[in-house]
């Protein structure tokens, strides 16, 4: 059973009578434990693909099986529940809640877990520890640097122990050092068994993955394994 199986996935936007095809006939599989980059220039449809795979948006055609379940037929609330349990997101703009502490930001997905009982605190603290932000856990998100914000965002994506983490240009707003730290964390998460989907327009960043899906004009134009995979911060680990 593949984690993700998509075939002929399509997305067409209708905006004020204008039809824009953002994605056409995307067909591929993602296996559990993979680290895959979706790479392409701006407007190539990579973010659209990630949003559909991340259940934030719906395809207008084709099929999408997540763990062999056809999620195209799920209701909005069922998709929300799936996102809560199976998926973590890291965005370019961090999307942390303002005027809210690191701890509370990381705790957020747990608030919407229907089956969540008591050990929230332990989960939150270990997610914060995993990105080495324990010393900042009481800080407000506005008091953090960009790199720290993104690490908090990763902790938030981790806290529910999701099957798959989608990272949409996670280094886009960061300096190279912070960016590398973020990639290093993603690599370590992958080493620990998490499936990572990284969206980027930079070849350099994409080469930190094990496999690259190249996109152009809404179509997948290449699906290659990375032979000389880059390892961020060799010899140093950010994960505890």
């Amino acid at each position: 059973m593949s984690l993700i199986t998509v075939s002929n996935l399509e997305k067409t936007y209708h905006n004020e009578g204008v039809e824009t095809k953002a994605l056409s006939s995307a067909t591929f599989r993602i296996e559990k434990g993979e680290f895959i980059s979706i790479m392409g220039p701006s407007g190539s449809g990579k973010s659209t693909l990630m949003q559909i795979l991340g259940l934030l948006d719906r395809a207008t055609g084709g099929t999408y099986l997540l763990e062999d379940k056809d999620v195209t037929k799920f209701t909005d609330d069922e998709l929300a529940r799936l996102r809560n349990k199976k998926i973590g997101f890291v965005f370019q703009a961090f999307n942390l809640l303002p005027k809210t502490s690191v701890y509370e930001n990381v705790e957020l997905p747990l608030l919407y877990d229907d089956k969540q009982i008591e050990d929230n605190e332990q989960k939150v603290l270990s997610a914060i520890e995993a990105v080495d932000m324990t010393h900042r856990k009481e800080y407000l998100s506005s008091q953090l640097s960009g790199g720290e914000k993104q690490r908090v965002a990763i902790a938030r994506a981790l806290v529910n122990n999701p099957e798959i983490i989608f990272a949409d240009e996670p280094t886009g707003n960061l300096d190279s050092k912070s960016g590398l730290q973020v990639i290093a964390i993603l690599q370590e998460l992958n080493d620990n068994g998490h499936t990572i989907v990284l969206v980027t327009h930079e070849t350099y960043t994409a080469e930190h993955a094990k496999r690259i899906l190249s996109m152009k004009d809404g179509q997948i134009i290449g699906d290659t394994l990375v032979t000389n995979r880059r390892i961020a911060k060799e010899g140093e680990t950010f994960l505890k």
Partner: protein
Amino acid sequence: MKLSDPLKISYRTLSASKLRFFLTVLGVVIGVASVILVMAIGASAQKLVLSQIENVGSNLIAILPGASEEKGPPASVLGVVTTSLTYDDLEALRVRRNVPHLSAVSGYVTGTGTAEFQSTSLEASFQGVSPDLIGIENIHLASGRFFFPEEEMDLSRVMVLGATRAKELFADRNPIGETVTLKKISFKVIGVLEERGSAAFSSPDDLIYVPLGTAQKLLLGINYLNFARAKIDNPLNIERSIADMSILLRKRHDMKDNEESDFSIRSTEAALGILTTITDILKYFLLAIASISLLVGGVGIMNSMLISVSQRVREVGLRKAVGAQKNHIILQFLIESSFITIVGGIIGIVCGVLVAYLASIILIKLGYDWQFLVPLSSLAIGFSVSFIIGIVFGLYPAIKASRISPMEALRYE
């Protein structure tokens, strides 16, 4: 999701925009306070009016000209002039065998005119009454005397002054024996009443009393009575006396068996019932007006919540991205709007009660026999209505927020 989570989020969100929160709450406070105030003052005013009727005595009967429905106010109350009740009716009522339990009866006519004494001149209400008035209305003379029976209809130009009128016209002088002109007719002052305090609709202290016939013929030029009031020897005989009077007056007015009476007879108790109805209507009318401000407060909440939704599109999108379902978002926003109304409701109740209390202090100082009353129902209504308004006016913004697409929201700048 635990209930404490959205509460925490609401607290954080509301404290982040304190001024907007304050203004929105203020709208609710004003609405709830006006509802409480109107209900409290309405209840006190009703109590005042009714207790004054009760003070007059429960063994009184009013005879009013004009037909009326069983429970409704008589035509004369509604300003219709009816001339069917006359002095001859009054005389007939006084015949013992006609109404055996009647102990006193007075006709009443009322009017206004200029009263003058030397250089002092004022507009005054006057009442033409029978000598029996003194026993019926339980009034006492401060000085002088009331009318003699023979003065009732002999056009005597004598008057008795209410306490306030006497003070206004004569200051510290003794009015007894002085001459006052009323509507340019000279009257001799024969008595001054003791101060009686304000009554519901008029103050007897402000009145000038003249004999019934004098008021009818010399001052008003009429030959009918505005109404009559009778005292019955024992409250137990009221029903019977009403029947006696009714039979007598129907006969005197040549009414056929199936014809509706051209007069109405009411006991004080019935009058109390009618007044309760009238004051209730007034109370609810005022309540309806006050409720409009509550409604405006509700619109304020909706406005504020809509602003909140549009400012928090990204936040809502993020919450949905990490797993918030529609109900979570709706609950979140409803808790916020309810929180506003609960806070506003509590402060509004406190303010309303305080203002009603202040009003009662002022009214008591002004001489009214005012009681500070806050009906429990007003607290319940104020609080529950504001809570409901929070839900109703918060619902649309909440649903709007719940429909935000996570993807659109995260793209939103």
